[in-house]
Structure formats: C-alpha cells, structure tokens
C-alpha cells in the first residue's frame, strides 16, 4: 500500500503513543460530537449499555478527550459502577482539570463516600462553569448553595438553644 511521508509519520506516531487512533482514521472533533449526541440521547432513553459502547468507543479513538471520558463516567454512574465512574471522572480531569461535568459528579460521589474533598470538587465545578451551561455545573452550584445556607444559618443561631 502506498503511503506518503505524513501518513507514515502518523502511523509511527500512533505506534509510539504520540498520536491517537482518531488521527490515524481521520476522525474529527465534529464527528465525535455527533456520535456523542447520539450517545447522550441513548442514555436519556435509558439505553445505558448502548450509550456505554458509544462512549467507550470514543475514548478508545481519542483517550485525550475529557468530554468523552466524563460522559462515559456518567453512564457508569447510572449503571451503579461507582469505581469505574470515579476512574473515568479522574481520567477526564487529567486531560482537562476544568471539566465541570467530571468535577461535579466526582464531587457528589466523593461526598456519598464520606470524602469531604467532594466539596472542593463542587466548588471547582462552579468556578469552571459559572454560567451554568451544563446540568452538572448547575447542580454543583445548587449543592453548594444548600451548604452555604445551612452554615450561614448556624452562624446566625450560634450555640444550640440560644437561637
């Protein structure tokens, strides 16, 4: 099979771990977005296994894409695969430490496990998505509001019985 220098270099780059399979196959971000839309719709319809397959495929194509990893994490979370979900969110944050979906959902999972670091994640999620463009960002802001209101209330009331 004939191949020009650039293509050969792309394959060598993949063998060395510098290029992704998406770059080898010519799969663009726009293609990924379209596939992800279908995956999100499938998850919304409750077809979690199919959504999982799509997002796992996207992660295989481009392990650097934090959006695909965080979306996969949400599917794992819905399937109650908590460890896998946490791993997916953490991997997403390695590529993009300001991913609000990964931060918010990991924060909530951490809180459920009794890890107070979850509040830090929620705070970072709000900072990453101040306008609430993602549902996860909105949820993080609401959770922190509940905490703030409860703490503020206690500060006003002081010791028990004196409020």
């Amino acid at each position: 099979m004939e191949m020009n220098r650039e293509e050969a270099e792309t394959l060598r780059g993949f063998a060395r771990g510098e290029k992704t399979w998406a770059e080898v196959e010519g799969f663009t971000q726009e293609d990924a977005r379209k596939v992800a839309e279908v995956g999100c719709d499938l998850a919304e319809l409750g077809r979690l296994d199919e959504a999982r397959v799509l997002f796992e495929g996207l992660v295989e194509l481009n392990p650097k894409d934090s959006g695909a990893r965080s979306a996969l994490g949400t599917v794992y979370q819905k399937l109650n695969w908590v460890d896998e979900a946490l791993a997916a969110y953490s991997a997403a944050l390695e590529s993009d430490e300001q991913n609000p979906i990964a931060l918010s959902n990991r924060g909530e999972l951490r809180l459920r496990a009794g890890d107070g670091e979850g509040l830090v994640d929620l705070k970072k999620a709000c900072e990453a998505d101040p306008e609430g463009r993602t549902t996860a960002g909105q949820r993080a802001a609401l959770l922190l509001k509940v905490v703030d209101q409860a703490v503020a209330r206690q500060a006003v009331n002081g010791e028990p019985g004196k409020g």
Partner: protein, 386 residues
C-alpha cells in the same frame, strides 16, 4: 393545643429534612461532611462544632429548608445527578486535541481512493437527495428525472459528458502527485507534457492510479487540450502547468455542480433503464481504467453509497430522539414513546448492518490492493529471472 400544633409543624419540617437528605442519596453525611468539607470551605471551628452538636442534620437545617432552601431542593430535583452530557474542552489549546483536523483523510485508505469517514449531516438537507427533498416538500420526481432531447432543445437542462467524471478524477490525481508527474521526464520544471504522461505509463513501478490518470489524458485529446488551456495563459502549446490543473479542477467541479449527474443522458439513461446505477455504468464504460481500477472504483462507490445511507440513518435516529424527548406524560404519549423505541431499535439494527457492510467493502478494497501489488511484484520478479 398550641404545643400539639407546633409538634405537627415540627414533624412536617422533619419530613422535609428527610426528603432533602434523600436528594443527596439517603445517608448520614453530616459529621463527616462538616469536618472535612467545612475545612475546605473555610468554615470556622466554633461554627463547625455548633453544627455537630445540633441534633440531626445541620446540613439540612429544617428551619433553613422551611425558610427557602426547599426551593433549592426542588431545583436540585430538576438537575438530576450524572446527567449524560458532552462538553468539549473550553480552552483553545486542549480543544480538538487528539482528533484529526477537518478534511484529513484516513491514513489506512490506499491513496487515490479518496475515502473519508462519513460526515454526519445536520437535518438541513438542502435538497441533497430525493428523500430529503420530499421531506422539505419538493417533488422528488423533479429531482431524479433525467433530461431528454426535448429538454436539451428548450435549454431547461444540459447533458454532461460522462467522461467528465473521469477527467476530474485524473485531474485530482495529477494535482495530488504533481511532483511525480513533473519529474517523470527531465528536471523538475513545473511543467508537464504528453511525454511525462507516457513516461508514467511506461514505468513498471508506477501505481495503477498514476497510470490510469495518465492513460485518460493520453487517450482523450479533447480533455488534454482543455487542460492545457484551462488557466487561460498561452495557446495550445501542449504544455500543462500547475495553474492549469487547479483551474481545470475548479471548472469541472463547477460544471458538475450546475449539472448534476442525474441530468446526464446517453449511457446514463440507458443505465437507468437497465436498473444499473449511473455511477457504476460510467465506471464500467470508462476506457481509461484498467480492470483492477474499475473493480476498486465500483467498490469505492458502493462504500460511499453506504456512507450516505449511514448518514441518513443517523439523521433519522437523531430526529426520533428529539421527538421522543418532546413527548408528554399521557397514555397516548406513552404509546407514541413505545412506537418510537421500536423505530429506534430498527434504525440501530440497520445502522449496524450498514457499518458491517462498509467494513466489508473496505476490507475487500484493501485485500484487492494488496493482491494487486503482490501480483505486480511477482510479475516483475519473473521478468527478472527471464
């Protein structure tokens, strides 16, 4: 009585608090949360300790909830946990990282076939197919009907030479491999003549793709003349420059856009009458392609048609999803939802079959190319021994 009344209110508030706990998952997080999380938020120790002492769930202070946090609770229920959403990275540096650049083709596809991943089209079809046109209210018959002699005379439609497609293909091969053609004879001078084309045809090491393009231009003097004067510089001097190639490509593409393939006649109309797709017929009729090139081109055409079908199925799936998401809660809505779920299943099955077919076409093309190369090598080795 007042005490009982207050007691009932207290119970009600307590129930609300329990409900608020369940919003986060029905567990006791209060003390653990206060210790570590409060530190993260910079909450002072006295406040933290007060919070611990209060019996129950300070995190969900019933008074707070009764005074307005209940509204937050309702909003929380509207923002469910783990909603699946896809958000590409916000920063320019990480956006697109790891994905191919737009227009980049697959490294694994043999050169000359020009195969790309199917691009999933937005629902705005812009009349690209009869099915799309009928979705927009146009008459599909108008789009797919061919032009006959009476239309030619009236000027309503204009037939395009079926060889124009081969011409365009040859031009693109020429453009992509310009240096190879340029240096086939003599030094690199940025010019090409019929001698260069003959040299490529006579070169046993040249690929069939290069040879096919050369043969077409050698066999079709009318198109060679068209090419040598495409840039409008100089007369018929039998010399082709890179500017001529670019200009010729632009001109041929403009003609094909203006006069779609369906408006051709002659062999195409015969092809439609015989049930053979127009594209396949023009490939089979082409005199400039070798048998192997024809088979590869037919397989590529089938793969491209499969890609179009894959795109259409994915568009349909997106539409079904959107309609499903907009349904209400009533009995009729549930029935519609069930029907849409069945449609989605059928579409998914069809998508799987199309993807499998595409994979098989691609494997066939790769195998064909591989066998062709092996045969060529064997032939050359045999010649060497002879």
């Amino acid at each position: 009585m007042a005490f009982e009344f207050l007691s009932e209110i207290g119970k009600g508030i307590e129930n609300i608090a329990v409900g608020a706990i369940r919003t986060l998952g029905d567990f006791d997080i209060a003390n653990r949360l206060i210790d570590s999380g409060a530190q993260a938020l910079g909450i002072s120790d006295p406040v933290k300790n007060v919070a611990k002492v209060v019996g129950g769930v300070v995190f969900f202070d019933p008074v707070v909830i009764a005074n307005g946090a209940l509204g937050l609770w309702e909003e929380l229920n509207r923002c469910p946990p783990a909603k699946t959403e896809y958000a590409p990275p916000a920063t320019r540096e990480s956006c697109g990282n790891g994905w191919a650049k737009p227009g980049q083709r697959s490294t694994l596809v043999p050169p000359g076939l020009g195969f790309n991943w199917p691009t999933v089209r937005e629902p705005s079809f812009q009349g690209s197919s009869p099915a799309a046109a009928s979705a927009e209210g146009d008459d599909p018959e108008e789009l797919s009907s061919g032009a006959g002699p009476e239309d030619f005379e009236s000027g309503a439609a204009w037939p395009v030479d079926p060889n124009l497609n081969d011409y365009l293909r040859a031009l693109k091969v020429l453009q992509a491999n310009w240096r190879t053609f340029d240096t086939a004879v003599g030094a690199r001078d940025g010019l090409l003549s019929r001698e260069n084309l003959r040299a490529v045809v006579d070169n046993p090491a040249a690929s069939e793709v290069l040879k096919g393009a050369s043969r077409f231009l050698l066999d079709h003097a009318e198109y060679y003349h068209r090419l040598e004067m495409a840039a409008g510089i100089g007369g018929p001097d039998r010399i082709v420059g890179v500017g001529d190639v670019s200009a010729a490509i632009a001109e041929a593409e403009a003609v094909l856009r203006r006069y779609p393939a369906d408006s051709t006649w002659g062999p195409s109309s015969l092809a439609r009458a015989s049930g053979v797709p127009h594209g396949v017929r023009s490939i089979l009729d082409s005199s400039s392609m070798s048998l192997e090139e024809k088979v590869e081109a037919v397989l590529q055409l089938i793969a491209e048609q499969t890609d179009d079908q894959i795109s259409e199925v994915m568009d349909q799936m997106a539409q079904v999803s959107q309609r499903r998401a907009g349904l209400g809660q009533g009995t009729n809505a549930r029935k519609s939802a069930a029907a849409m779920d069945q449609s989605m299943e059928r579409l998914q099955l069809r998508l799987q079959k199309l993807i499998e077919r595409r994979r098989q076409m691609f494997e066939l093309m790769s195998t064909l190319s591989e066998k062709s190369n092996e045969m060529a090598k064997t032939a050359i080795q045999n010649m060497g021994r002879a």
